[in-house]
Amino acid sequence: MADNKRRWALEGVRVIDLTWLLAGPGGTRILASLGAQVIRVECREPRAVDFLRYTPPFPRKDKSAPAQDLGMLAGTPANGFNRSGNFNNINPGKFAITLNLNHPKGRDLLRRLVARAHVLCENFSPERMDQWGVGYAELRRVNPSLIYVQTTGMGKAGVYRDYAGYGPTAQALSGLTAMSGLPEPREPAGWGYSYLDHSPGYYSSMLVIAAIMRRRKTGQGCYIDLSQTECGIMLSGTAALAHQLSGQPTARHGNRMPFAPWAPHGAYPCRAEGDPGDEWIAIAVQNDDQWAALVAEMGSPVWAAEARFADAAGRKANEDELDRKLAAWTSTQERYALMARLQARGIPAGVVQKSVDRFTRDDQLRARGFFVALPQSEIGEWPVDGFPARMTASPAFVGGLTARGAPMLGEDNERIYREVLGIESAELEALKAEGAV
């Protein structure tokens, strides 16, 4: 049950959430964590159900069972739409209703919901809502102060308005893929997940809150045409600036630091903890004091006293050799113990933590209570990622108003249709029978 004493930063804000996958739902997750009433609106037609509801991982029967093969595409999940762990992590704190936008009464219900809401978020392909007759131009007539967020791969306005894009598409086009990895002639290493599915959520939530404040002052609504690729451009650092001044193409540097004379600066192998091992520690030496401390921790080996490693410029100029020597030493070390010893000497160092490490060995996440266990109505209690900012007066809570994990498909039909639109059970059943809900 929701905590009635809790005070929310977004008290009284209602969000109609038509988003799917991650690029849209990440933003409404944040709004829900801050106390907005986020109502997921989903179609119950299997072909139109959020694809994330289809995707693994699904809970193991018992947590000590062996690891599952995730597969990539599960088809219609045998166990229904309410068991995806990925969906659960991305949609906690939200209400869920069903509504069919292919049905005229469904579209009418959406208009009525929008009339009673502040914000609508969607990330369909760019023209989809217009095709249904419920695009921004139409909904603005229903609710002139509506804040409408449309997240797409490229952006709805512009030359690429009809282009399709997912996180990896946006990462490639924006420049982020090209920037990451070892120098030419190696191919880019890019990203091992859809960073640009996460980023739009930070910006949509930020822009929505700004728009809510403006709306309070002026009554004005807002249309937000948010582009995943532009998020990538925004996050490309100084690359485009440097190019304009130097004319040089942006290069990749692996883990090395091209912008300051920091060396060693990379990930170094540690003692294997399995076969084959994949254990690493990141070390970033920024100055002579840290270097001296590292040399001492290594037991002052002869090689480290060589003149060519004595100052930052020398270490940078001889980085290949430096990395080889350092790696030979780290590879004999247990990674967490090594991190503790390096940190005790004031050297920036951190274990390259895998998921299992973050979940089972990260003392900091545990101490701060980062993972939040929330009940999900079908699969029970599971931990989801917490909100990374503590707020003293209006604390964020990923369980939001529902104090639940992700909603089941249509879980809140009765409550939301009654509370928001005054539709009682009998009428709701009729709407369901007609295929509108």
């Binding site: 005070r7 944040i30 193991r60 690891a67 995730l70 990539m72 595409l73 990925n86 992590n89 952006g155 512009g158 030359v159 399709a164 490639a172 086009l173 924006s174 090209a178 990451s180 990895g181 070892l182 191919e187 880019p188 890019g190 990203w191 091992g192 599915d197 930020m206 822009l207 700004a210 728009a211 249309y223 937000i224 582009s227 996050l235 490309s236 650092g237 100084t238 690359a239 600036l241 190019h243 084959p276 994949d278 690493w280 970033a284 940190q343 920036p348 390259v352 933590q353 998921s355 973050r358 979940f359 003392d363 701060r368 909100f387 990374p388 900012a389 707020m391 007066a393 209006s394 964020a396």
Partner: protein, 422 residues
């Protein structure tokens, strides 16, 4: 889009943000400044640490030529104030009396020391919002670990899933690679900006300010997609692989090299629609293939190992047949979500991004012209929501203006300067 739609570039107009600390929080200030807040960068008299980060305009390091400082301090003002000097406290108090928000970023111990002073300010003015951005938050066993962008991305979980795939023996012969461009600080600052906006909204509802404690480590931890659920629910530790999603097993490559040597992110979803688009594209480009044969007639057949191998080989030949930008346009015209791997600067002249205002032309009189900065993520249908107009400040450029507003007379300002407090 006319009435009802207008850019949000002034939505936070009237709010004043003081930004103390190092490079960890500067992106938060830039985001708020792009939405209209007056953001005042409080620098030590020697300049903010980020002024020493490259790259530098014209090569040699110089505090007024750091492109890093330029990029992450657009639209801001600069005052100098030596917060290490106890005589600075009353100056900070008078300047902060005009502020709505203080952002402070850096190592937790240093930020925590300054928090004591901010708490006194909050006691006098409970509407004040204070946001700390630190590597691990203000408490916890790892609070005082020394961190950089690299070590944060390592510990936060992004690095472990980024890099190159293992060899045939399953052993990685390259280290995991942290994506470049300060993403640890991007993530911490994005959450900080969201939280600050939320706190401002809460203040309008309640009249109360508050303290915000952002952990960069936790911000990174929220940003690894299904990496963590795969472990929590299924016990799977996903394996990193070149330029594609880390997953339980090694999947076929996504990047393919075009005729001009540029890579294209080109993948086919296992749907009829995408398969037909691929066949059409192969035909259009005159690339020979056997995909019309019986062996590819339905999804089950296409899923077989042999069929998959043929499909990927055809895909390779297709991408290799034309320059990357042509493959991009042709594939997208058929509804395939492909894109060339562009370098960031290759978007500067792209008509799509030009029309959307993705880059803002910022005047740099000292360079005798404009520089284009990444400046937008969204439009109102016509114009970008973020509004960037002013280059990063020169060191102490606005000290006189800000102190005068705080009630200091010219001779008092001169005395503070002589005492090296400002």
């Amino acid at each position: 889009m006319s009435a009802g739609a207008a850019p949000l570039g002034d939505a936070l107009g009237g709010f004043v943000v003081l930004e103390v600390g190092d490079e960890r929080g500067e992106f938060a200030g830039v985001l708020l400044a792009g939405l209209g807040a007056e953001v005042i960068r409080v620098e030590p008299p020697g300049g903010a640490p980020s002024r020493r980060l490259g790259p530098f305009a014209s090569g040699a390091p110089h505090p007024e030529r750091s492109l890093h400082f330029w990029r992450y301090n657009l639209n801001k003002k600069s005052v100098t104030l030596d917060l290490g000097n106890s005589a600075a406290a009353p100056v900070l108090a008078r300047v902060a009396a005009h502020a709505d928000v203080i952002i402070d970023s850096g190592e937790a111990a240093a930020v925590a020391r300054r928090m004591a002073a901010y708490r006194e300010l909050r006691a006098a003015s409970p509407r004040l919002i204070v946001c700390a951005i630190t590597p691990f938050g203000l408490d916890g066993p790892w609070r005082d670990f020394k961190m950089t962008d690299l070590t944060q991305l390592a510990m936060g979980g992004i690095m472990a899933v980024c890099g190159y795939e293992p060899g045939a023996d399953g052993k990685y012969d390259t280290a995991p690679i942290a994506p470049a461009a300060w993403h640890a600080y991007h993530l911490g600052s994005e959450y900080a900006a969201v939280s600050i906006a939320a706190a401002l909204n809460f203040r309008e509802l309640s009249g109360e300010g508050q303290e915000i404690d952002v952990s960069i480590h936790e911000a990174i931890n929220t940003c690894t997609e299904f990496t963590m659920p795969s472990y929590i629910y299924a016990g799977v530790v996903v394996k990193r692989q070149t330029a594609r999603h880390a997953s339980a097993s090694i999947s076929p490559p996504w990047l393919r090299r075009a005729a001009d040597g540029v890579y294209v992110n080109a993948i086919i979803a296992p749907t009829d629609r995408e398969f037909r688009a691929l066949v059409r594209l192969l035909d259009d480009c005159g690339v020979t293939h056997d995909l019309n044969s019986e062996a590819f007639s339905d999804p089950t057949r296409r899923g077989r190992r042999e069929a998959q191998r043929e499909i990927f080989a055809a895909l390779d030949r297709l991408v290799a047949s034309r320059p990357a930008e042509e493959i991009f346009r042709r594939a997208q015209a058929l509804g395939l979500a492909w894109a060339p791997v562009r370098r960031p600067e290759e978007n500067l002249a792209d008509e799509h991004f030009r029309r959307r205002g993705s880059f803002a032309a910022i005047a740099h009189p000292e360079l005798g012209g404009d520089l284009l900065y990444p400046a937008s993520v969204a439009t109102d249908g016509e114009r970008p929501h973020f509004n960037y107009r002013r280059r990063a400040p020169r060191l102490s450029e606005h000290t006189g203006e800000i102190l005068a507003r705080a009630g200091y007379a010219a001779d008092e300002i001169a005395a503070l300067r002589a005492a090296r407090i400002i």
